[in-house]
Amino acid sequence: MTEFLRMGGDAAYVWSAYGITLGVMVWNVWWARRRHSKALEKARVFATADRAPKQPTVRQL
């Protein structure tokens, strides 16, 4: 096991390269999920929001 982790003395190169790649994969999954849930949340707020006209009316002024 230790022999495997040492990678013949190239551990720093091999594991940092694999670590960065794994990090990029995880970031992509996280990003897609977050974007989806944020968009759904925004759509929910939009759907439940009062659809009254946003312009101020004369009375409000």
Partner: protein, 249 residues
């Protein structure tokens, strides 16, 4: 000749949203399985390389990440072009989704390449190297695409202008691929995608190709996942989104 029904369905946001939702779990599972098998095979089972020693094992991730970056660019350019010509909103949504995925994988290819270059070429980076420079240009094309989009408040305008940039930049893709053939470079020439048989031992070729398949499925999984979010973002006013969020509670 009338177009088949499924072709029209591909332009329908609710259909694509639902279809992508059904497809993603399978894509994700298949990709995870292939990456796990290929990763184990490449790191543990595959023999040590005679000249480079163990560091060659970066071979099982570095070309794959570079290839995902290039594939993402082609998808972005083709989708952008389709959206521009036929004014299909969904095609623009695909292009936008592919950009951050491609940017992250292009950056990853540069990083893993630099790490691999240090022990094998004696340097992390070489400004005059055509392969490194064309790959760096790919990263900047992605970042430029995203920055250009961010400059527009009107999404439709952003879609159209950024699509032009994406299509023009596609000339860089064959330049990346052939840079190692056309010019003198530190980077090795192609050993898989070339005329004749691949110049790599089968014990190494099999896990290499499993990783290529795993990364390909990973890309489409990420693309479809991101596309679903992008569709919700763009179709906020549509009745089906309203029904969707109301059904979710």
């Amino acid at each position: 000749m009338p177009l088949p029904r499924w072709f029209h369905l591909l332009g329908s946001p609710p259909f694509v949203y639902g279809f992508a939702g059904k497809l993603t779990p399978w894509l994700g599972a298949a990709s995870f399985l292939l990456l796990a098998i290929g990763g184990y095979w490449g790191l543990v089972v595959a023999p040590t390389e005679r000249v480079q020693g163990e560091v060659y094992r970066i071979l099982y991730i570095h070309p794959q990440t570079a290839y995902v970056g290039m594939m993402a660019y082609v998808v972005m350019a083709v989708a952008g072009g389709i959206g521009y010509i036929w004014r299909i909103k969904l095609a623009h949504a695909v292009a936008v989704t592919a950009a951050p995925i491609g940017a992250s994988f292009a950056a990853c290819a540069l990083a893993t390449g630099a790490i691999w270059g240090r022990p094998t070429w004696g340097t992390f980076w070489q400004w005059s190297d055509p392969r490194i420079m064309s790959e760096t240009l790919l990263l900047f094309l992605f970042l430029g695409y995203l920055a250009l989009r961010a400059a527009f408040e009107d999404r439709e305008k952003a879609d159209r202008v950024s699509a032009i940039l994406a299509v023009v930049g596609v000339v860089n893709i064959p330049v990346i691929h052939y840079s190692v053939v056309w010019w003198n470079t530190l980077h090795q020439g192609p050993s898989i995608m070339k005329v004749g048989s691949p110049s790599i031992a089968p014990e190494m070729l099999v896990p290499f190709l499993i990783m290529v398949a795993g990364f390909t499925l990973l890309f489409y999984w990420l693309l479809l996942n991101g596309l679903r979010g992008e569709i919700v973002e763009r179709e906020r006013d549509a009745r089906w989104i309203r029904q969707l969020v109301e059904a979710r509670g």
